[in-house]
Amino acid sequence: MSEVKSKIASRIAEEVADGDVLNLGIGIPTLVCDYIPDDIEVNIHSENGLIGLDREAEEGFEDKDIINASGRHATIKKTGSFFDTAMSFNIIRGGHLDMTVLGALQVDQKGNIANWMIPGKLVPGMGGAMDLTVGAKRVVCAITHQTKKGASKIKKECNLPLTAAGEVDLIVTELAVMEVDEKGLILKEIAEGVTLEEVIDKTEADLIISDDLKEF
């Protein structure tokens, strides 16, 4: 699993440009940080009220008032700043985030994303996920290609309650990189050692194969 996670996170890191303001969700998205090259400087926004989020705090150096959006003790860069929730969501909603990376339960070929509840089973709530998917300039979904039972998470149409409609720009799984376009879902890259047939077989959505299909 860790290999799968690092494959996804490292590929997403390539999408990050110098100077970007990013928000990284819990799980695989958080790992993206570890793969951003040193010569690229980013500002990480955390919806609980800071810009310039740095690594988690080392044991013995925690400050109870500096946390990340998972509630874990964190640190802040020298150039970072703190603010209240209204400002934090102005940043998100106002288009000041270049990119948000989120996990999901499902995504579909129209760019719909579902990541906040499974009716009757799991209802954690949306937290800031709806705000992030609508507000960020670019929405990247970090997701394993299939559920543990082997069902495709890349759907023709999400059947779980949506987090946002038509907002996803890029989907990165351990098998493929797919871009949501007006025409549909474009398969841009397939993972090294994986065949095109395998990707198509494991994807419920209709894929438009790029003329310039690459390997990652």
Binding site: G49, K64, V123, P124, L162
Partner: protein, 220 residues
């Protein structure tokens, strides 16, 4: 005016059927000393407005799991299984609101606005029960004001007159909630004499704050 009081001075404020808003984001920036006390008062049928349900064994999460709550207006409960169980059994009605819409609803109350138009939640279940309006061809949800009888907020420093300064990411909902309730009770880690806080650094004016409680250091 000196607004610093002891916990038992607050007894008369807490009654059944109140709507209470509570500041904080997960384990950060919540008035633990006050919540710990309110939990012992046995008040019933509360409506709670709060960002999240915290962690069930700790502080805010423990308060929410143990208090007699009818309804919660909240953005996230996933960290607290006790609240999920109470929601599924019907013991608590949970209204889930996107976090940015929730803070804007609270801000509207304190700012005298009739609501704000937000694109967040369009095309999702968050539209339910809300008016959807179109402006220049784009759809928005009308998020309406949300106030409370009492706000319980947490600051770092307070002076006796009620001016507040927050610390790092412990701001979150606190400064906005300070403007949106009939009675505002602020807990501060340090309470100082008037004049000891630099005017330039004050974030919440004393006009918003009714009572100050000094934190029990063991609960920080």
């Amino acid at each position: 005016m000196n607004k610093v009081v002891e916990l038992n001075d607050l007894d008369g404020l807490f009654k059944d059927d109140l709507t209470i808003m509570i500041g904080g984001f997960l384990n950060c920036g919540t008035a633990e000393t006050i919540l710990n006390y309110v939990n012992q008062l046995g008040i019933k049928n509360l409506t709670i407005i709060v960002n999240d349900a915290g962690f069930n064994q700790k502080s805010k999460g423990s308060f929410l799991a143990n208090a007699d709550i009818d309804k919660m207006i909240i953005s996230h409960i996933g960290t607290n299984p006790d609240i999920g169980k109470k929601m599924n059994s019907g013991e608590i009605e949970v209204e889930l609101v996107p976090q940015g819409n929730l803070i804007e609803q609270i801000r509207c109350e304190g700012a005298g606005l009739g609501g704000v138009l937000t694109p967040i939640g369009i095309g999702t279940q968050a539209e339910e029960g809300n008016k959807v309006m179109e402006v220049d061809g784009k759809k928005y949800i009308l998020a309406t004001p949300l106030g409370a009888d009492i706000a319980i907020i947490k600051a770092w420093q307070a002076d006796e007159s009620g001016n507040l300064i927050y610390r790092y990411s412990a701001r979150n909902f606190n400064p906005i909630m300070a403007m949106a309730a009939d009675t505002v009770i602020a807990e501060a880690e340090e309470v100082v004499k008037n004049g000891e806080l630099e005017n330039n650094n004050i974030e919440t004016s004393n006009i918003f704050v009714d009572y100050i409680i000094e934190s029990d250091k063991e609960l920080l």
